[in-house]
Symmetry: C2
Subunit: 241 residues, 2 copies
Amino acid sequence: MNAKYISIYHKLIEQIEKGAFTVGSKIPSEKLLMEQFDVSRDTIRKSLQMLEQNGYINKVKGKGSFILDTAKLNFPVTGLISFKELSNQIGREAETIVEILEKKWPSKFIREQLEIDDQTAIWKVVRARKIDGKKIILDKEYYNSSYVEKLSRSICEGSIFDYIENTLHLNIGFAKKEIVVQACTEDDQKYLDLDGYDMVVVVNTFVYLDDGSLLQYGQSRHRPDKFKFVDFARRIQQVNE
Amino acid sequence: MNAKYISIYHKLIEQIEKGAFTVGSKIPSEKLLMEQFDVSRDTIRKSLQMLEQNGYINKVKGKGSFILDTAKLNFPVTGLISFKELSNQIGREAETIVEILEKKWPSKFIREQLEIDDQTAIWKVVRARKIDGKKIILDKEYYNSSYVEKLSRSICEGSIFDYIENTLHLNIGFAKKEIVVQACTEDDQKYLDLDGYDMVVVVNTFVYLDDGSLLQYGQSRHRPDKFKFVDFARRIQQVNE
DNA sequence: ACGCATTTGTTCGTATGTATC
DNA sequence: CGATACATACGAACAAATGCG
């Protein structure tokens, strides 16, 4: 079903995570991989480019592609990842409590964030996230109901993204996140176990569909001592002329 | 000097930022761009892929490539960018005060972070960053002296990265950043105008050279109300099999 | 210092698949 | 259905960096 280069990308990740190559060592050359997978160089290069962009390898001209220490780089937190995927990865007991679920008309603030008029209803979802018995994240999300017509409590207890992608068959395209720190609000105190902290880390998120339309605005509010964001970045190519 | 696709990438950015295309509109098709720049489709596609990855456009199969609202997406903060580049971009009066500059033997903590032994000297640089008259960022950086032999006060007052790339001709490859929030330390109180805040946002950074060797470990400590981090992410391709 | 083999980087060409309109 | 536009895949050639003898 998938493109060859994507399936090779996943196969290589599997090998890397299995420890088939030691950290700092070279992976087979493009020529060898071509033969192993019986594909063209173009296809292998696309797979390797994905590995490079996602921080698995570092390519050096004339030398080869080297495995990076993904454990040390504390992967992956950059990018779009849902709370459910995250809790699966960290392997800790996590629980989601749906505090509010309602379809309503948008306030001025939400109209501005979602770029809609007052004739477009929205779904408002507020969920507290419990890890190791403490409520440390408060997620407030607003969905454009033109794209998500119906939401239920049971969907919200699982992964809304799962529902959007696999049931509604909408394709998430990209997202913008903004991280700031704010004084905590009454809602934070009401829904979170703040443990004395008077500030929260706020991650504002705008999620767009494949075709560029704005699906969701969300605020993820974290207790400061439990927040961590990891980013992997490559140096942007410079102009030499 | 540069590769064609990189120079076309920069030319297209220039056009986009000049407002040659309106937000939400299509840019010329790959076929047209091929003719305009007189290059192959492969070259154009590489340029467009870079634009897409850096959040300038959104490509939709069968439709075209659409301009994203880069102003709204609040560019660019993701990725590697030095304080000097940043202050140029935001266009505010910014000043750097070099508080500490010394070559010394590494502590145990720094040895672990930089993955060196106690025979490798390090450069320690502490700089306060003043914006609009207030010291709001404290940068503590440690460089492996095997790569950076000499540092001077005047270099530190400008951009150390400039010096590393343009004078030492070392190529920065990639970096890992980690964002956390911590209680402020004595140093924070000593060097920053904290304005009553008792927490700081800490960005831990590991900067690697082209060949994968670790050049720098740094802590960038920010007053919480003045901190903002923006991230642009694309949905990672899923397995469909 | 030099040439040669290896490896990745860039560019071109061509063909076919798939989504949109 | 046909035209357009982007996606995937293969092949080929040369450039540039590296390592070795």
